[in-house]
């Protein structure tokens, strides 16, 4: 079990407290390719933030690859995030003044990997994404699909336990979306665990299991669809 959520609750404080996640129970097995679907405001982004240790939860428990994720210091959270989770974002979130290779190598920099080693590793993953010839290009010199593949390479380079993708095809045309989804399916076939947050049914349809979330509660998906 890579991810195990038990009775997770999350409320955003404010004049009118917003109870966004209500008793969420969710498990993701190693090697799964799941999608988390829901309308905007359903709480799927908050769920993804909690899964990615980017946000905290109020009650319940979250185990990531056997580690209890609760009340972590910023440093410990950063360390776990860097080692166990690879992020892919809708807007790619590449650093625009760094080349493709440097972007991919950046997570390794924060892990203290030597320059030679991290560049070699980054190159390896870029080549795997079919972007070996784009290594020295800046993000502004690449197409959306290429940028997203760079972002995927960056997510993979630390050999994480799970890839969390937030609307990875949201900014891509349908043809490129298909390619990116195929890429996720291929990675999954190689054994990578992947969770994709989306509101696009076509994306959801290409995953092995759909977890539907609505109004802060999981409606289906406790068992593979």
């Amino acid at each position: 079990m890579i991810i195990e959520l038990k009775d997770i609750n999350k409320t955003y404080p404010g004049a009118v407290p917003l109870h966004v996640l209500k008793d969420i129970n969710l498990s993701i097995e190693r090697g799964e390719l799941v999608s988390i679907m829901g309308a905007s405001g359903s709480g799927k982004s908050t769920l993804l933030n909690i899964l990615g240790i980017l946000d905290t939860y109020d009650s319940g428990s979250y185990h990531l690859d056997g580690t209890l994720i609760k009340n972590l210091s910023e440093n410990r959270a950063a360390e776990l995030r860097g080692r166990m989770i690879g992020f892919v974002f809708q807007s790619f979130n590449l650093i625009n003044y760094k080349t493709a290779l440097e972007n991919v190598a950046l997570p390794l920099f924060y892990q203290g990997v030597s320059r030679r080693k991290r560049n070699a590793l980054a190159m390896e993953y870029l080549e795997k994404m079919g972007l070996g010839d784009r290594a020295t290009h800046l993000p502004s010199e690449m197409s959306g699909g290429q940028k997203q593949r760079v972002a995927i390479a960056r997510a993979l380079v630390t050999k994480p336990s799970i890839i969390l993708a937030d609307e990875p095809t949201g900014a891509l045309d349908s043809h490129t979306s298909k390619e990116v989804m195929q890429l996720f399916r291929d990675l999954n076939a190689e054994g990578m665990t992947i969770a994709i947050v989306t509101h696009d049914p076509n994306v959801g349809a290409q995953t092995n299991r759909i977890i539907r979330i609505s109004d802060g509660r999981i409606v289906t998906g406790d068992s593979p669809a």
Binding site: A78, R81, G82, F87, N93, E102, S114
Partner: protein, 415 residues
């Protein structure tokens, strides 16, 4: 935690970030560059101004005093006021014996006269002095020597002539060993001198003929009378400490009312120097005040720009945090970038200021007086750089803390 400062990878990352964001880097760097340059120019400039003024007194003893005989202003022991009275060598012997704070001293007799050599003649001031005169006001010796004890004690007819006198009598010939006629008395020229300072006692050395005091009094029938007494006080004492002795001595030896302050006029050069010193203390204080303002403005400028940079980089910092950067990584990055920038721009600013000061030094260079020292000492330069480095880093702390508090969620939500 690994020690970041020794980690070459960290410096590469900083260098790259600065190099890839040229406009932002240049804007920040310019602020720092200008701040350090202004401060350095201010410090070097005030030093140069001081030098320009001080060089006018080059070779001039700064704790010097002198007294000159005046007419009495009070009737005394049956003598009317307005009487002239002579200060004599005898009086001076008393003073020299009585006051332990007296350092160098010389009597001075002065008269105008004509100086002749062969068929050439010139008018000049003739000064009869003791050898100490040349230690109270340091001359530039162009050839020969100055007057010595033997000239004075053996009443030799030796003369030291000013550079301008030498030129008008001898042209480019060497005057040493030649005989000149000073008011119809023959003297042998032993030296040619000039002075660097603009200030002088009685006559500028360049235009004077200086002969031994004893010779002067004997050759020109002055008896024991002297016109003035010039002296310096020993270190730690002021010419003011000599004055009471002189007053005491002359009122004992001459029928002058001891309460008649105006019967003798005292000059205290140390007072003049004190005034100049105070003026420069003022200028230095002003420089420090304006400099501190510049430093503060510079530091606030750095903090300001870094604040904007952090805001602008919120997304980037969020991304870095999401892919594993710890808060301390972000702080270190922002602060190190600020420090690297400050160090480079600061050194450039100082180099620029040194260039400007060098130009000022060249423009104010005087062949006779030399350089005014529009210069910045290495100590000041290092001081400015380090002060800016520390202030710049402090100014960067607030933005860096703000950067540290950026949650990685920022990168996700900021679509």
């Amino acid at each position: 935690m690994k020690i970041r400062i020794f980690d070459i990878e960290n410096w590469r990352e900083i260098g790259q970030t600065l190099a890839r964001n040229k406009t932002r880097t240049l804007l920040t760097a310019f602020g720092i560059f200008w701040g350090t340059a202004m401060l350095a120019m201010l410090m070097g400039g005030s030093e140069g101004l001081r030098g320009m003024l001080v060089r006018n007194f080059e070779g001039f003893a700064t704790n010097m005093g002198a007294c000159f005989v005046q007419h009495t202003t009070k009737p005394y022991r049956g003598f009317n006021k307005g009487m002239s009275w002579p200060l004599t060598v005898n009086d001076i012997d008393f003073v020299r014996r009585a006051n332990p704070h007296l350092d160098l001293s010389t009597t001075s007799n002065q008269t105008g006269g004509s100086i002749q050599y062969a068929d050439k003649a010139t008018a000049s001031q003739i000064l009869g002095v003791n050898p100490d005169y040349f230690r109270i006001q340091l001359p530039v010796v162009h050839s020969g020597r100055v007057l010595n004890e033997s000239d004075d004690s053996q009443i030799r007819k030796s003369a030291v002539i000013g550079k301008n006198v030498a030129t008008s009598l001898f042209g480019s010939d060497d005057p040493i060993g030649r005989y000149i006629k000073v008011n119809q008395v023959y003297f042998m020229v032993v030296g040619v001198v000039s002075q660097t300072s603009e200030a002088s006692l009685g006559a500028k050395m360049d235009d004077a003929v200086l002969i031994p005091a004893t010779t002067m009094r004997r050759a020109f029938n002055l008896g024991t009378d002297i016109d003035a007494f010039i002296y310096t006080a020993k270190p730690g004492y002021s010419p003011k400490d000599i004055e009471p002795t002189i007053r005491h001595v002359y009122s004992m030896n001459h029928p002058v009312d001891p309460t008649d302050r105006d019967a003798m006029w005292f000059l205290d050069v140390s007072e003049q120097f004190e005034m100049v010193d105070n003026l420069f203390l003022g200028i230095s204080l002003l420089a420090i005040f304006v400099g501190a303002g510049t430093l503060l403005a510079g530091a606030i400028g750095i903090g300001n720009i870094m604040w904007i940079i952090v805001k602008e980089r919120t997304r980037e910092i969020g991304i870095r945090r999401a892919i594993g950067a710890k808060p301390v990584d972000i702080i270190a990055q922002i602060l190190s970038e600020g420090m690297v920038l400050t160090a480079i721009a600061g050194i450039a600013g100082i180099c620029f200021a040194v260039g400007v000061l060098a130009v000022a030094d060249t423009l104010t260079y005087d062949p006779a007086l030399g350089s005014a020292h529009f210069q910045l000492s290495l100590k000041s330069a290092l001081g400015i750089t380090f002060t800016f480095l520390i202030l710049g880093t402090c100014a960067g702390i607030v933005p860096a803390l703000k950067a540290m508090r950026i949650k990685p969620v920022a990168a996700l939500n900021d679509k």
